[in-house]
Symmetry: D3
Subunit: 162 residues, 6 copies
């Protein structure tokens, strides 16, 4: 059985948009510190956003069979809940293949960056992480939109999954 | 509030080991195809293992405040269950700081690589992923072991969290 | 004398395909182990394929004057002979410049990965490699094909060199 | 306040050219050695050119909110004056966004590479650099040119700043 | 004349610290917006800090003859003046060679990131940057400090250059 | 069969040196142009040396199961013969594992860079490369040398293979 990077040469350049979401479960005290911006390592939210944006651009380097595509927008939204921090990343590209992997990579790396920045507050006395967990990384939606050069076709084909 | 890469100059080089685990929920048919090795893109297990190993080495490039450390071993185990594929990554380093982020990055990227390779089987007719989900990424254990040069201290300090 | 990255701004986006081939000479026992999949480090063939695919995407980062181009397909075929393992890589891109360097980089890195995985079996008692050799890395063929947007021109211009 | 990678999906692919310039102030003896090519580490000019070209391609990896764009040309010119080495980099791309950051990154990295190669000659007895300084990194010009597909509009919009 | 990456095999692992500083000249209105955090692209200061930290770790990849060294700390301080933003980066490593290039790269990339984030406010009507300039990138200080394993030698050898 | 990055945690840090050599066969006219430095793209020798040095540092990123090690020296020698250009790369590291892969990667990438820079002179009228070939990439020697901290053991264990 051979490894195969799919041939997308014949596919059309279309505006493709994908959104992926995930969360990290943290201790209430850690959540409190993120809200109050009293974490020793600095601004978690901005750092995780930047890490996510940079990671989206690194997708073809990280995921072996992903194609290099010209990303035209990355948006990483981070919301701090009561017991979790949620990351939702949206990626756009005018390309021959979808961008759900880019959105998933951005989300995963933003969540991992949150973990890295709250390590001292999440570790117990033995240095373990009994409570910390990254959970429910999903593709929220995946869309194609007709470009200026391909009008006349249906406006877009999408469907949201909560 | 400033961003701060922690100063580890004064910490000791000790053998540090961390294991992280996570899972991806897939359709039964996809699981079946992975078992039977009938996926169009090729051997999911080996590809995910290699992606995980390469990603562990990329950790300081992906997670902004991680230090570059000399990884001495990466082991990515993948097990195919009934409705999930589970990844468990163990990283070792003789270094001044722990390797849990490296193990978490290896696990996350291996799971994302599984997703990438099963995309055609997981998508529904609208191109969405109603069932696919990465879940429960955790640090299973984190250990320090005395090196040849630091004998006499306690054997190791560890504790497993299932 | 100045270093110059060629100006390709005025060239046309055409489907470009290139195939490069090379081989690595190994001990008969090593070849036997690859066939029987009894190498300690794991599946040589899949690992070399993935390394080759990832390397093709890294070409503009590795070869100083190569342009970044949108690769649409990479295929790395590995065949195990009696005394050599042969790698043949084919790369496609819809781009302004050819992809022979990408195919050569994929082939070279796949061959180097084979070497890395068989080191313990190829080394002699002094730790040297008297028999191992990478040999005959060549461009097998280089083609242009008219795209949907440029029909009417000649079908393709190619020629095979054995 | 959220970090935002600008959405360029709707912008047109146009030939974009930018030139950036900067200088590094060096000791007269160091300048003399560069001219006479008697530096221990080798040919400063060619090394700095290559470092600049490679860095231009790395721009979206280095500058968090830069988009990945298909660079079609990089030209790094280095001139050795009496007390400074001047670098002038020109980058071209057929893309949806300008290339001034790419030209600035190429220029900055070429200047840093010059510094790295002349370290032994610039350091004083305490290992400090009292004289060395990178200065006046500027965008010299930024231009758009109509492509074959967008004729009829104005020829180009440019203006030079000395 | 050959290119030569210096041999540091015989040098001692010592704690090495270097600080580099530089500035970017901006329009008063842009400075005002940075202070008030009303820039469209988001938090300039945190983004530039993270870009600088990540770049310090990339130094051996960007500067051809730099050695890969285990950085133990990076600190990027950004201060907003009346007409300039100043960046001062300090890098530490327990290594065989100094870290001034790492500090210079961190400073340069943080300054370039500031530029990237204020582009819309610095451009004039022709899309040029008549006022923007990166200036006076210097090594402020370079130090060696005895490690725990090498006590008895002089405390440190440093000297500040304003 | 699992992929396995070997555990080197227990191995000793020793000065390790490896030399790898290979050649590229070129047309006599191309060789002539390299000698006379009349190639359009610039100084082949320096460019190939730098590409090789940078590639040696990238080895753990390119070869999946290679460990990241602190390279202390890379030397890439290029000699222009009558019908071939020969590259010989020597890499040193004070590390727990050998550096033959680093030397092989440096040599391979330097040879590929030569190819890239002579493309216009090697292509025939159909755009093919009937004569160009990379050949005989071998490990010339692999050595360990006792460090200052491990004196008393045998001087080194080496053996040359022509």
């Amino acid at each position: 059985m051979s490894i195969d990077m799919a041939d997308i040469s014949g596919k059309e350049d279309v505006l493709r948009i994908a959104t992926a979401r995930g969360a990290i479960k943290l201790k209430p005290e850690t959540i409190q510190r993120i809200r109050e911006k009293t974490l020793g390592k600095g601004d978690v939210v901005t750092t995780a956003q930047i890490a996510g944006i940079l990671a989206a651009k690194k997708t073809p380097e990280i995921i072996p069979l992903c194609h290099p595509i010209p990303i035209t927008k990355v948006d990483v939204q981070i919301s701090v809940g009561n017991s979790t921090v949620t990351v939702e990343s949206t990626v756009q590209s005018l390309s021959k293949t979808g961008v759900e992997m880019e959105a998933l990579v951005a989300t995963s790396v933003a969540l991992l960056t949150v973990w890295d920045m709250v390590k001292p507050y999440e570790k117990d006395q033995e240095g373990q992480y009994p409570d910390t967990e990254i959970e429910e990384i999903r593709v929220v939606s995946k869309t194609k939109q007709p470009t200026k050069n391909s009008q006349g076709r249906e406006q877009h084909e999408t469907q949201k999954h909560p």
